[in-house]
């Protein structure tokens, strides 16, 4: 059977190639996988895991992390926050039939047909200030509230960083980051979505399981946070716009590509099978 019995053009990526592509992506676009407050951009040595990058990233002065606001401290009207970092430090993809990853029992192994499994190591940490700093900050807030009409100068240099301020006025000389790393496994599939003329190949994360967190409620919350972050923050940036993939044919013609419709002959498009991501495509030819 030929690859193109039911389509004009067939493309497949083996899971080994997919993982190498992911590796290149992480090295060349580190800010897609590493997040933190300003202090981590200025002092990347504080990150929980050192970021391995392509030499061109540093040569072109690309950011290592995407800068986020500090995590808001409840009760401070959003004025104060804690510095944090969050990193996706390892990523591995296993296409059906699964053979690279040992899925946890919660994900009902073995991997089902037309599914991919993924493994991610996620590391994160807060900069947790000394107890005295927190207390002084609390005292300042209380005193300001009590003397709104008085002209008082406050020593704000001893407070926690203000959330809305990108470069907090005060920081310990060598802040201590409370790092942790989690291993997460997920199950997903590839899907073609979007209207005609704007079709996109996307990864859908169906389930996520974080290993060894107790109690169950905390685990569920962490899983919810990670899954939402992946679905909303990361995966949409990796969509492949199929309709805009136009290949130049020796300057003599261009090809416009669109996914082959689902039929009994092509029951899954894209398909995950034989450790391959397969895409069946129809081709339009234009001058």
């Amino acid at each position: 059977m030929a690859f193109t019995d039911n389509c004009d053009l067939f493309a497949a990526v083996h899971e080994a190639g997919l993982n190498r592509i992911a590796h290149h992506l992480m090295r060349q676009r580190p800010s897609l996988f590493n997040y933190g407050t300003q202090i981590f951009a200025e002092l990347p040595e504080l990150l929980c895991r050192r970021i391995e990058t392509h030499p061109e990233v540093r040569r072109r002065k690309n950011p290592l992390i995407t800068i986020e606001d500090p995590i808001s401290i409840p009760g401070t009207d959003g004025q104060f926050g804690l510095d944090f970092c969050a990193q996706l430090t390892a990523l591995k993809i296993d296409l059906h039939p699964g053979n690279l990853l040992d899925l946890p029992p919660e994900l009902d192994p073995p991997l089902k047909p037309q599914r991919l499994a993924l493994f991610a190591e996620v590391c994160g940490g807060l900069i947790c200030h000394e107890r005295q700093v927190a207390e002084r900050t609390g005292d300042s807030i209380a005193a300001r509230a009590a003397s709104q009409s008085k002209q008082v100068t406050w020593d704000r240099s001893v407070e926690l960083p203000q959330r809305a301020v990108q470069a907090p006025a005060w920081r310990p000389a060598l802040p201590k980051v409370l790092c942790f790393c989690l291993e997460a496994f997920g199950i997903g599939r590839f899907e073609v979505v979007g209207p005609d003329g704007a079709k996109q190949l996307v990864i859908r994360l169906e389930r996520l399981e974080v290993v060894d967190i107790a109690p169950d409620g905390l685990e569920s919350n962490v899983e919810c946070f990670l899954a939402t972050t992946l679905r909303v923050g990361l995966l949409p940036k990796l969509h492949i716009a199929l309709d805009t993939v136009v290949l130049e044919l020796g300057k003599l013609a261009t090809l416009s590509l669109s996914p082959t419709p689902i039929t009994p002959a092509v029951p899954n498009n894209p398909a995950i099978e034989d450790e391959l991501l397969k895409v069946f495509v129809n081709v339009g030819v234009a001058a």
Binding site: L9, A11, R20, I21, N62, L249, L252
Partner: protein
């Protein structure tokens, strides 16, 4: 198992072939002196018809592809021996000399005397058939300097590229097919040129020159060495003297083999483009290979580490 596989069906390949064929045009111009006459030309061609088939022996076969010569404009310059008439004495002087002479008229004094513009655009064809292998080539742009990184090269539009090219296994170009009507076109061109050349002369002078030279048209034919078979003459002129068959063979072969790859892509291949200041994400492509069966053409490659 390769990391990447891309296959194109034979029907798709045929559609691509048709599109490429319809966009192939090439032309050349030149001139040469062939002794009794000179020629300048503006010759081009386009491709029409033909079929393409993928073969199980790994080749791509192209059959009966018509090369239509257009433009095909020749300008033949002829140097006809000078002929002078008149100048004879009408009223002799009995004491010697001549009181009144007829005017002396010389024609064909220039070089060339006659320029025959012949427009054969679209009338002459050649048929090409051939078998090609699809080869891969890794092209390092000659304008890329040693100090450039891959990203520098991309920015300067001199990135390395993987290319797919048709490599001729054999190429057969039939003799030029010249229709009968070309003889009439040449005769008309000659007659028009003669009329234009002699039309300004008084009737007696034109008759006198024709009497001297016989048929001017026949003279021109003799100078051009046309003989009895105008098609054979023109075929020889175009194919051998001017060498358009070589031009077509070389151009067609180059077109597919060197100048215009069937397909090319950058290496490393950008999977994400620039995003503001963020550099593109580029993936090195290794071991590009191509295979052809009677149903499809398949490319395989690996992703570099």
């Amino acid at each position: 198992m390769s990391d990447l596989t891309v296959a194109v069906s034979e029907p798709t390949f045929k559609r691509l072939f048709a599109k490429v064929r319809d966009n192939v045009t090439e032309s050349t111009a030149g001139s040469a002196d062939f002794g009794p006459f000179s020629a300048s030309w503006n010759v081009g061609f386009k491709l029409q018809g033909g079929t393409v088939d993928l073969q199980n022996d790994g080749t791509v076969r192209i059959s009966e592809l018509d090369v239509v010569y257009t433009p095909l404009q020749l300008s033949l310059g002829l140097d006809i021996p000078e002929v002078c008439v008149g100048g004879f004495c009408i009223i002799p002087n009995p004491f010697g000399g001549c009181i009144l002479r007829a005017p002396r008229i010389c024609v064909f004094s220039a070089d060339p005397d006659i320029s025959l513009p012949i427009n054969l655009s679209g009338l002459i064809t050649t048929e090409i058939s051939g078998a090609f292998r699809i080869k891969t080539r890794y092209r390092v742009d000659p304008n890329r300097t040693a100090t450039m990184t891959n990203l520098d090269a991309e920015d300067a539009h001199v990135a390395n590229k993987w290319q797919l090219l048709l490599d001729p296994v054999w190429l057969d170009i039939d003799p030029i097919d010249i229709p009968d009507t070309v003889g009439n076109i040449l005769d008309t061109a000659i007659n028009n040129a003669v009329d234009a050349l002699l039309g300004w002369l008084p009737g007696w002078a034109r008759d006198l020159i024709k009497a001297i030279l016989g048929s001017i048209a026949n003279l021109i034919r003799a100078i051009l060495d046309i003989g009895d078979d105008i098609q054979e003459w023109l075929s020889n002129l175009l194919g051998v003297s001017i060498g358009i068959l070589n031009f077509v063979a070389t151009t067609v072969a180059d077109y597919f083999a060197n100048r215009y790859p069937l397909f090319e892509f950058e290496d490393p291949y950008p999977i994400l483009g620039y995003d503001g200041p963020l550099i593109p994400v580029k993936v090195p492509v290794l071991d590009l290979a191509v295979s052809v069966s009677d149903t499809e053409m398949a490319l395989t490659a690996n992703v570099g580490g």
